[in-house]
Symmetry: C2
Subunit: 308 residues, 2 copies
């Protein structure tokens, strides 16, 4: 089977999914969310439970009339209550995917991370995966973490690798190439991440992540540019052909996100993995296109939730 190289192929795979996912969307009253809802309902890609502290907008009412049975509207007294209700809807199995509209990320995260009523089983690690389509790169590129984990521990790096490899497998990438990013290629005890990377490579070699090639420390350019790696004499199948970048910290991951998005004209999609359901957590400034791809990723990632 061909693997997904572009977002339009991701859309194709989304359309081919046998089961229509149900999405709990918190505070959906922004143009991009409304576009995603409308597209998913009219193309039968997902059904929605929409939760807001405001009354249902006319456009949703009209959509519900045209396609009855695919949208529920639930009112909560406040956005915080909407977040709690959304989380509860996931906990009780009424929906498969949690998605953020225009509610503040912090407020939604508080409901998700609530110890008693949240979505994080004890011991689970939450991380953010971004997938981007960059015009100057020959395939999709996934990376962690631009949003959630500030300074990963070994076990957090391990989860980041594991989740990214699983998502890549879902996209049909048989043996994803994982680059463990650092500012040089040297292992140096002064930089704990380079020591952790050595352990991750051992785990990869022992088969912990399934079919995948894990290498590093390696810098961003060496990971994506074959010419640079050749000039530096670095020989690894990951060089110039990475599918996945694991960043040493959130400052670096976020810098990469913002830089490829603006200077590399990349289209970005992102999901949070590790909770009891995939979570779509877009930024306010994200385009409707980007929110749609993010939801598509989350629905594809559901495979790992239903089979485990």
């Amino acid at each position: 089977m061909q693997y997904v190289k572009k977002f339009n192929e991701l859309t194709d795979r989304f359309c081919e999914l046998e089961r229509v996912a149900k999405v709990a969307l918190i505070c959906p009253d922004d143009e991009a969310s409304l576009h995603v809802i409308s597209r998913c309902v009219t193309e039968r890609l997902a059904d929605f439970i929409l939760i807001d502290s405001a009354p249902c907008p006319e456009s949703i009412k009209a959509l519900d009339t045209a396609y009855p049975g695919h949208i529920q509207w639930r009112i909560a007294p406040t956005p915080d209550e909407a977040a709690r209700l959304g989380v509860d809807i996931i906990r009780t199995g009424q929906a498969d995917v949690l998605m953020k509209g225009i509610i503040n990320t912090d407020n939604l995260m508080r409901a998700i991370l609530n110890k008693e009523h949240g979505l994080l089983p004890p011991g689970n690690i939450l991380t953010h995966i971004t997938v981007c389509e960059i015009p100057s790169y020959h395939k999709l590129l996934a990376f962690s973490d631009a949003t959630v984990i500030p300074y990963p521990t070994l076990e957090q790096y391990d989860a980041m690798v594991r989740y990214n490899v699983e998502l890549a497998h879902t996209l049909g990438i048989e043996s994803p190439k994982v680059a463990l990013i650092h500012f040089t290629e040297k292992v140096n005890p002064k930089f704990q991440n380079t020591i952790d990377y050595v352990e991750l490579k051992h785990r990869a070699a022992a088969g912990k992540y399934g079919n995948a090639v894990v290498d590093g420390p390696i810098d961003v350019k060496t990971a994506v540019d074959l010419h640079s790696s050749q000039v530096k004499g670095i020989i690894t199948p990951v060089a110039g052909d990475a599918d996945i970048l694991i960043f040493p910290d959130l400052e670096a991951g976020n810098t990469f996100y913002k830089t490829v998005s603006f200077f590399g004209n990349a289209v970005m999609a992102g999901i949070v993995i590790g909770a009891s359901a995939p979570i779509v957590l877009p930024s306010r400034a994200d385009s409707a296109e980007s929110k749609f791809y993010s939801l598509a990723l989350a629905c594809l990632a559901l495979r790992h939730y239903t089979t485990t």
Copy 2:
């Protein structure tokens, strides 16, 4: 006076300098270095003391015959000795700028940082400044630190801001806009850099950096993209128009360097500031063009060494 917006304008300013700098170049026998030497000598932009453990190549001999008196060739027993000799040449005032050819960066840095015979006066802070020309940005963009300081302290951030502002003034930027980078715009005691940023803003307001606007924490995209800052409702003169980015750590600075260089098609130039002379420390993979711009920056930066 118009400020420098593109590297060709930087070249113009380099050509207009009244004094021809003398450059100590360590292990110059690579194509890009030879190109830089040839261009600088034929255009009377700089004179050179070339130090190597190998005999003088024919191309340099021919250049010396055509333009006598502008090149000296010094032999050292090993590259390490070449580095020590180069540093000594700077210490004794025989040259103004130190430049790296194909010697390993670590070996040269060891000679520079040597406590007794090196180039770092006690209390001085060494940092790397990159200046890049990105086709999709409306002016040159300078940033620190992609190479030298792993996790800056407050005083190291302070030096980074100071050196970058001085360099921007040299390029004719009257009131450079400095963005203190973080993954969000929130000050948060969990992230020491955001606390340090508040102090840097106080120092800027008190006039410590001269004519400059310093703001942050701010993320990379908000610093360079006016649209993003407007969507997020962030109002600061720095948003969308930064001249200088100060990165929270080396992982983020290096990620930015590699990402704009590859995905943003940027041309990069870089110098190390804080030693008793400007230092040009290019990567082996850098183009001749990039090495030339780096040397031009170093020669322009000399202003701050001769006047202080």
